[in-house]
Structure formats: C-alpha cells, structure tokens
Amino acid sequence: MSKLISLPEAAGLVRDGQMIALGGNSLSRTPSAFARELVRQGRRGLTLIKTAGAYEIDLLCAAGAVAEVRSGYIGYENLYGMAPSYRRGVESGEIRVVEHACYSVIAGLRASAYGLPSQPVSGFDGSDTPALSGFLQVEDPYTGKSVYMIPKIRPDWAVIHVQHADAAGNARIDGGPFEDVLISRASEGVILTAERIAPTKFFEDKPERTNIPGFMVDAVVHLPGGAAPASCYPLYDTDEGAVAAFLEASTSTDASPESLRDHLRDWEERDHRTAEARDYRQTEKTE
C-alpha cells in the first residue's frame, strides 16, 4: 500500500493549531518546501519544535502561521544574522516562546518516545531558562540530587526531508541525522519528503541503514530539492543567494506580506513540479 501523495495533500494533513517537529538542523536538510506549502495553504496557530532552526521557522513566522516556538536556537548563523520574522513575532508578543536548550528539546522528545510524562536532563543549574520556562525539579531518590525534568513534547507531526524513501515509508538519511530519528519516534505521525523514491529492496539490502521504518510513517512526498534553499548533503549546498534574497525582503518591514507572496510564487513551480523535472543534482547511487 503506497503512502506516496502530493505535497499539497501532505501539507493538508496538518491542521491549524497542531504541533510540528521539523527535521534537519539550521540550514541543513530542512523541510523547506513543506513549510512553504503550509504557508500557501494558510495554516495558522502552529507550535514548532526544533533544536536549531533557521529558514523554515522564520518563513512560517513571517506568514503569521506560528503561535509558539520551542527551540534552542533560531537564527541564520553569522553569514545572514538573526531570523527577522521570528524575532519580530516574539518581540511583538504574537509568538510565544518556550525557552529551551537544544538538549532540553531532546529531553522533552525523549519523554514522548519513551512513554514518560517527563524526562530528566543534566545541566541547567545556573541558568535562568528553567525558571522562565517553568521546568520543575525532582529529587533523585538515590542520591538526593536535584534534577530538572522536561515535560513530554509530543508533536502531532514530524516532518522530515530525507535523501531516500520508499513508497512504504522506509527512510534512509545520509550525513548527520540530527534529531530526525528521535522526532520520528516522539511524534504522533510522520510525514516524509524525499529526494528519491527507492525500491524497497534498497532498504532490505542494508536494513541497518534504515533510520525510520515504514510502519511509523503516514505519508511520503517525492520532492527532489525539497530542502532548498537549505542544503541536502551530498546532493546540493545551501543556495546562499536565495536565502539572502528572502532575508532582505523579510527584513524590510513594510514590504513583508507582498515579498512573502513573491517568495512563495518564486518557489511554487519547483515545489509542485512532478519528480521528473529536477533542478537539483540527483544521484542514483545505491551505496
């Protein structure tokens, strides 16, 4: 039974107000096209979960799609600076932040993956973050040591861009997996966008390399270039010009809604094209 659907269908699975964990990290293997499609469909009130995010978080913030962000870091690194739309949304009070460290996001996701109400995390003494975010301590019953417990983070959806998937939802990630295996376990449902739809035999030949087993996955979208303008190792690098152009447009406050529409229109053809037409280099190596 194939789980292959179109990008608009997949984005349609996400409902207003839901919690989404986004795969990749910073400008690497980001589910960028999926985020653009959520904006095209006018999604609202989302809670976004990511250890360290950039473009796709900022884009959803620019579109007013975001109610809350739980994250360790949102920014574009030094080449581009801070995430202007995220920043504006938080400073205006439109977007609620649950201040986290990357590792406490991981702890909250682990609680969900492990069937626990909360997960202890080491560190966090001497930080104002736990108090601000309402993280509570328990006393370890063996040592008497105080440990912060991070409440379970159970996203409705994990949205993950991968290099290889099959129609059954098996997925393999090349390069750094970041938190993608964890978010696939922690979330209620999993949506994949994939550079390449491989035959199931590709996974059966090296089952140890399958990061996400098909039975956990709800939908697969064949979407070469789906991480752009972020990078997708080893297929394509970050499209720095496109990131810079997006940032320039969203930094000029007055032009923002219109420039966002332009940005989405610029990418629409690529996001919606059939898999045959590929802008991004596509290797068909099988290891």
């Binding site: 360790g72 581009y80 460290a101 590792y103 560190g123 966090f124 001497g126 104002d128 010009g241």
Partner: protein, 256 residues
C-alpha cells in the same frame, strides 16, 4: 554596506588572526573539543591546533561528524562539508549526551552579553516577557556550559553592550576559563573575569574603556603573544579562504 577603510580592514585581519591563534592555544593535545553552530573562528582555531600542537585532539562538531578532514573549511559551521573524512557521524543527541556525562574537555561558546561573573546571555535583551531584542537562543550552550570541563568564550565585538555589569538574562554559566576578543584575553578567577593579556598594539585603557565591568589592574598586564610564524603559516594553509575573517563586520563576505 559602508565602505571600510584600508586600515580598518587591516586591523580586523590582524585581530582575527590573533583571535584564531589565541583560541587554538586553548586546545591541548588529546582533548575532545566541540564547536556549535555559528562558530567560524573556533572551527578555524581547532583545525589550527590540530595542525600544530594538538594533532590527537578529537573534534565533535555540531553537524555530528567526528574528526572530519574537510577539503576546505566552509563558511557555515553547520555545512555538510564538515562531514568529509569523518569516520563517524553522531546524532545531535549523541553529542549532547557526551557532554552530559563529562566527555567533552573544551567547548568554544559565543554570547551576546557576558558579565564579570562569567554569566552569558544568548536569549533576551530587556525583559524576557516583553523583550527589546529576541536573540537566537543558547542552542546547545545553555545546557553544556556547566558540562564541558572548560569553556572558552570568543566575541569579535568588544564593547560595553557586550561586556556588561550584569546580563539581562542568564542563558548559562559555569566552567568558563577564558574570553578571547579582538582586544584582549580575559581569564576567569576567583573574583570573576580579569585581564590576562592585551593584544599587541592595544592599550589596557582601550580595553577597560570598552568593557562594562572593572578589572583588577594592580599587577602588570602582559601583552598577548602575537601569532608566531609557524602559526601564521599554518593559518594560511588551513584557511586560505579566510573563514576566520567572516565574523568581522569590516571583512564580512557579502552573501552572493
């Protein structure tokens, strides 16, 4: 973009080289070192140290690769190029777990505000409930600062907005040993951050004037050892593209 004068550009280059060398000197042979996102100078410094005095140190970088040997150092410290030549790749969780169990000797950390007590703010300027500026957040740093054995902070901006009497928000604190800036090296002592050395051509007065908290100036403040010839040669070899300059506004490579 403002046009920088030739002398400003040259001063920034000198400062970047000095900082890269100072940061590299903090990494000792055989140690495990981590750098986070947005860390061009530490990345260059680590590869410099590995080339010079710490070839057996182990880099775990934020994209998950263990001891990569990239063909060229990328401008983004989260670039997939940093997977090249790595014999293993970690998930982020695996790397943070390593911190949590005391397995990292040294981490280089940034920070928007740093105060005398060595506390770091990467989160908010103003009140968190109604911030004047929402900063990017502490990333990994806000938990690992008390987990790594030693923390070295680097900042390419040395001014009273950065080095403040008291940070607006303590994103994290703990285990700080050094702060490296374009002007000086600070050292964490009993009473807080003190001047360890001032870079060649910089006066102690300039440093104190641009620092928002006081230093104990009763002893003599030595001059930072300038980059040695072998350090400069190695720097040019490992970073021909000038990644180390990319954090400086005067030298910033404009995005294409």
């Amino acid at each position: 973009m403002t046009l920088e004068t030739e002398s400003e550009i040259q001063a920034a280059r000198t400062a970047a080289d000095q900082m890269a060398v100072c940061l590299a000197r903090e990494l000792h042979e055989g140690e495990r070192v981590f750098h986070g996102v947005n860390s061009p100078l530490p990345m260059v410094a680590i590869f410099l140290a590995k080339k010079l005095h710490a070839p057996g140190s182990v880099l775990i970088e934020v994209a998950g690769s263990v001891d990569p040997r990239p063909d060229r150092l990328p401008f983004s410290t989260n670039d997939p190029a940093l997977c090249q030549g790595a014999a293993a790749i970690f998930s982020n969780a695996d790397a943070y777990d390593l911190f949590a169990r005391g397995g990292i000797d040294l981490m280089y950390l940034g920070g928007a505000q740093i105060d005398k007590a060595g506390r770091v703010n990467m989160s908010y300027i103003g009140e968190p409930s109604a911030p004047k500026v929402r900063l990017p957040g502490g990333g990994g740093g806000s938990v690992v600062m008390e987990q790594a054995r030693r923390i070295v902070i680097w900042r390419v901006v040395h001014d009273r907005r950065t080095f403040v009497e008291k940070v607006d928000f303590v994103t994290q604190s703990g285990n700080l040993t050094r702060v490296v800036t374009p002007l000086a090296v600070m050292e964490m002592r009993e009473g807080g951050l003190e001047l360890k050395s001032v870079h060649p051509g910089i006066s102690v007065e300039e440093v104190t004037g641009r620092t928002g908290f006081p230093f104990d100036l009763r002893g003599e403040i030595p001059e930072t050892a300038p980059p040695a010839k072998d350090e400069l040669v190695a720097l040019a070899e490992i970073d021909p593209d000038g990644v180390r300059y990319s954090e400086f506004a005067a030298l910033r490579r404009a995005p294409r």
